[in-house]
């Protein structure tokens, strides 16, 4: 029986959450590259001894539940050889990482010479070496073509930077200055967390703090069990299909068999298709993280994202399958796809057990990047498309949000200003408006995707590459709701016919004056369309979310 009182535990819980947020705030304010300070593709967390997740700041959902696996990998490798002042680093998907661009930094926190906490920061770097810029290499057939693998390593030994090791990392990436700036921000963030935790331990004493953590995790477990108990017992199955592997193989299936028994949940992904030769494979840690993300969405938003709330969940998967690839397979796209399809399969399976919680599918990610030379100043440029966000899925809470993004980011990715983009890149945005009729119909409709007409105003040939999914399968409708419209991206070179862009292709030539016509996917609908409120239908038509023609067909 714990001696810590509930008030002290509550105070310590607030402090722990605030510390992880302060680590995130420091990161946000000090990181250098746009993907971190604008898109916030990073997360900060506090893990306990052995890696159990204690508190995590609210950033990118795809990182939830992933960090404990990274801590475990460090502990497994270094054992007792962990000391105050050490900073550890890793990114290898086969050693607790998710994909290579995500670099994780850790600091151990000691009390009375005993390791009690880890402060952790995972951040997506804009480049990590490898065959192509930014690691999204649709042509990769093995992980070594995707970038530099960093197994658990000690970057600082008892406070001393290992300069040679840093040098090794820095020469292997394309933008060493950005890389070092972002890595410095990560280390600053975990060090800040370390200082704050030391103060907390000083104030309350290590024993009380550790007991409070047990209390907090037990409380989260009981809260999660309270939720699961309300779900009907049974065995449920769900399947989600990826478009293809980019190598001609279509409809790659992720299958979830979910067993609810009382307050216990077993999620069995073993029937998933075998791994493939392209970057849609997932590492074990990334699959675990996708499962945690699905449950975070299905539980109450207030349920703490910590080890306790995941205790009722047992995950089974098969090594060699798409969601647990054997070492060496490429995996870069997996934090989007197949992670989103893992979520989709689980949510679909559980929808009959908890219809009042399950939400329809959010649009899939389909990224393009254009690389060329800006005729205004002769300088090279690389533009990553964050515009034309896909639609969000509908839910029992109401219609999906228009243009609010994918399941792995849930409205957390900000697209930049069109005015700034036109000012900085030789691009002209002729049109950037909602795509009518793209949201899946239902009692609640999916959010619209976005139409983007983009003119490339270079004088020389550019390159583009694609990485994504969802041009064949739309975001899934749920409980009678219709699927959202899939992505449709076209490229129209001057004087030529428009070409449909595939979702996974490297090195596409873009002639000057080319126009991209991007029609991004809509979100899935929830519930039978015949149950939709007629006033809502009038509203959809009046505001052009649904065109007159499409409205007639209902």
């Amino acid at each position: 029986m714990s001696v810590v009182d509930p008030i002290t535990a509550s105070v310590i819980q607030h402090r722990l959450v605030a510390i992880s947020e302060e680590m995130g705030e420091a990161m946000l304010r000090t990181s250098y590259s746009q993907i971190l300070n604008s898109s916030r593709d990073f997360s900060t967390a506090i893990c306990g001894d052995g890696g159990r997740l204690v508190a995590q700041a609210e950033h990118i959902p795809v990182h939830v539940g992933a960090l404990p696996w990274a801590v475990k990998a460090v502990v497994e490798f270094f054992g007792e050889d962990i000391h105050p002042g050490d900073v550890f680093l890793l990114n290898d998907p086969y050693h607790g990482g998710s994909h290579l661009p995500d670099l994780t930094a850790f600091v151990p926190v000691f009390a009375n010479e005993k390791l009690v906490f880890w402060t952790v920061n995972r951040a997506h770097h804009s480049d990590i070496g490898g065959a192509t810029y930014g690691a999204y290499n649709a042509a990769a057939t093995e992980i070594w073509q995707e970038g530099l693998r960093v197994p658990p390593l000690r970057l600082y030994a008892r406070g001393e930077l290992r300069e040679d090791l840093m040098q090794m990392l820095v020469v292997n990436v394309r933008h060493p200055r950005d890389f070092q700036g972002d890595l410095a921000a990560q280390i600053g963030s975990v060090r800040l967390g370390e200082r704050r935790l030391e103060t907390l331990i000083e104030e309350f004493g290590a024993d009380i703090v550790v007991e409070a953590v047990d209390f907090i995790l037990d409380a989260a477990e009981s809260q999660a069990r309270d939720v699961i108990t309300t779900w009907a017992d049974g065995v449920y199955e769900g399947e989600a299909l990826l478009d293809d592997d980019g190598r001609g193989n279509q409809d790659i299936a992720i299958r979830a068999k979910v067993t609810i028994q009382g307050s216990d949940l077993e999620i069995d992904l073993s029937a998933t298709d075998d791994q493939v030769t392209s970057f849609i494979n997932s590492s074990h840690a990334n699959m675990q993280s996708a499962v945690a993300m699905a449950l975070a969405f299905l539980f109450d938003p207030e349920t703490p994202k910590n080890e306790g709330s995941l205790r009722p969940v047992k995950v089974i998967a098969r090594q060699g399958s798409l969601v647990w690839a054997n070492e060496g397979a490429p995996v870069t796209l997996s934090t989007s796809h197949s992670a989103q399809e893992v979520i989709e399969a689980i949510v679909k399976a559980l929808a009959p057990a908890c219809p009042d919680r399950a939400m329809a599918g959010w649009g899939r990610r389909f990224r393009i990047a254009i690389k060329g030379e800006d005729p205004r100043n002769g300088k090279p440029f690389i533009w990553h498309m964050f515009h034309a966000r896909p639609g969000a899925g509908a839910s029992p809470g109401g219609d999906g949000w228009h243009g609010s993004g994918e399941w792995h980011s849930t409205g957390g990715l900000k697209f930049g200003s069109v005015e700034i983009a036109e000012q900085r890149f030789p691009l002209f945005f002729q049109r950037h408006e909602y795509r009518p009729d793209s949201g899946g119909d239902g009692r609640f409709t999916g959010g619209c995707g976005v139409d983007l007409e983009l003119h490339v105003e270079t004088e020389t040939v550019c390159q583009t590459n694609t990485a994504g999914d969802g041009a064949r399968h739309g975001a899934c409708g749920l409980l009678g709701g219709a699927d959202g419209a899939p992505h449709r991206y076209l490229m129209r070179a001057p004087g030529r016919r428009a070409k449909v862009l595939p979702t996974k292709l490297e090195g596409i030539e873009v002639l000057p004056g080319t126009i991209f016509e991007v029609h991004s996917a809509g979100g899935g609908g929830w519930g039978p369309p015949q149950e939709r409120d007629p006033d809502a239908r009038t509203h959809d038509r009046l505001n052009g979310y649904v065109s007159r023609r499409a409205a007639k067909d209902v």
Binding site: D5, P6, I7, A9, S10, V11, H14, A18, E22, E25, A26, R29, T30, Y32, S33, S38, E58, P61, R177, G188, F215, A219, S222, Q223, D226, A296, F297, P301, E302, T303, R357, M359, F386, R389, A392, G393, G397, G398, G400, H402, G403, G405, T410, G411, G412, K414, F415, S417, V418, E419, Q423, F428, F429, Q430, R431, H432, E433, Y434, N543, Y545
Partner: protein
Amino acid sequence: MYRIGIDVGGTFTDLVAIDDNGTVTLGKVPSTPEDQSIGVMHGLAQVAASLELELGPFLANTDRIVHGTTVATNALLERKGAKVGLLTTEGHRDVLEMREGLKPERYNLRLARPEALVPRHLCLGVRERIRADGTIAQPLDEASLNKAIRVLRREKVTSVAICYLHAYRDGRHEQATRDILAKALPDVHVCLSSEVLPQIKEYERVSTTVVNAYVAPILSRYLSRLEQALAASGYDGPVLIMLSHGGIAPIAEAIRMAAGTVLSGPAGGVSGARHAAGLAGIDDLIPFDMGGTSSDISLIVDGQAALANDRRIANERIALPSLDIVTLGAGGGSIARAVRGGLLQVGPESAGAVPGPACYGNGGVEATVTDASVVLGYLDPENFLGGRTQLDGVAAAVALDRLGDDLGIDGVAAAEGVHRVVNTQMAEGVRLATVRRGVDPRRFALLAFGGAAGLHATDLARQLNLNRVVVPRIASVLSAWGMLATELRLEVTRTHIGDTSDLDIAAINQLYREMEAEGRNRLSNWFDGDIHTARSADMRYGEQIFEIDVPLDEVNFEAPDLLEQIKAAFERRHETLYAYSLKDQDPVLINARIATIGALPALPEEPLMAAGADTPPLGQRRIYLGQWLEAPVYDFDRLSAGQQITGPALVVSETTNVLLREGDRATTTPHGWLDIQISA
């Protein structure tokens, strides 16, 4: 002559009149939300009566009225603004609703989608296009504009926002649109993005302009009514409106930039805190205003209030410079519950005014922070709000006992827990807010005002390692008072993008000179005193997305090394905020800014109190501070200057209750304020 500050809040309208000797007269009357000017006139009559004057002679003897109004704020919060139509560049009509792709609450996928301030069928594209370099890609097409105007007429919109792409570079298409609109729909209020916020980033500009169009008509109606009522009662001086950025401006300017009045009320509080800091000789201060449903904090560094331009109010983005006020979801009415398998959570849900805390006896049953204060003896149920209201101590005890049952502890322990948890939450909120501003909170003093602040301030300070808390005697009307101590202020912004090393020195100088001329010109229309200006710039490194505000006051614009100086100023600011800078990188200048400031005569100082014999306590009260003990209770309004009180003790007045914990030492200042040293 008198100067009058008027702060209209949700419940009360506070008034402060100051005469030439600095003597302060207070007024407080219920607000009249249906027409705030009625409450204002009642309040003026009350103050006049206190001075034994008729309203007419009182107003005839007044040379300045400064007014903080929540008309625009309420219109936005309650969605009661104008019916707005939005004209945009064709192909870009969804900028407002897209919100840059962002949706709040990452893990709440069942969150309902909000309605945009302008429904999509009133967002109309007009064929026209200016390019990023300012050239015209498509001249304004009148046929397409006329088509849009037909929709606006049919839908009977009362206000129109015109926001074209790249209009910050060239406002001519917007101006031409306004001219045509003025002929077609002469009664409609029109706002141009190139006038409201002429700076790059379309979402911020569109959203700000739309908010402006949404609140301007209702603000305009209210202020004309007030002006007429004042004139009819004999007032012929200026009425100056408190703006979100902490400055004041006359009515016409406030209406023109109506979106800049949404923080009018809280801005008065910050101005009051800043003035108080000046009187107390404190440079670095955290104003802490704890009310019923929430608490506002802000920062005063080196005597200056921090500004931000990334505000959202009622979920709408307003990118005008505004005081950096952070609202925390914890107030006296915040509800305490056992959640998550036995942890205590306080807020963000609040019992509000109805039903209110359990002790109000209006049907509230859940335990709130105020109920905890009653159970712990910090509030006297017999003597709340100067005895005008009685609290139900039994109901508070029942609510806390129930909470205790859920937590497995007794009611008093639960009540103490509520205080510990809510204070922890607020302390962490303050810490995060200071981290965001790049400052260490420990060197700050806490200035407590607002109904509930005094009971929490000392513990909050201790948790933050602050050693000083100041409670002004007029804490409850600090906003109205602060409004009288502000300056006229007008902001001018221009987008001028360029890498620092590529900027043209002559062009930069000309840009700032033009902006200064514009600011002085506009300000001199309604002010004939001394005007000074302050230059600053929004800058960032190329790949970053957030600009930082870089003061350029210390830069010599005539010097040949101007660009190096600007770069160095940016680096200093970046280091302060983020602890590093990158010397080998060229920052980008995005927006040039000018603040045009017209200083008003200083507020006469209030006569100081003479030191006297210590005033004895009113009595003793049993309070709980880890154990039950008898603590003396002092009357805040009757303390002598220099009087020292050592905690545990309570200092109470009609609207303010201050808790001194064990070892805290309060000294009464010559202004009658409490200056508290916090025990370590």
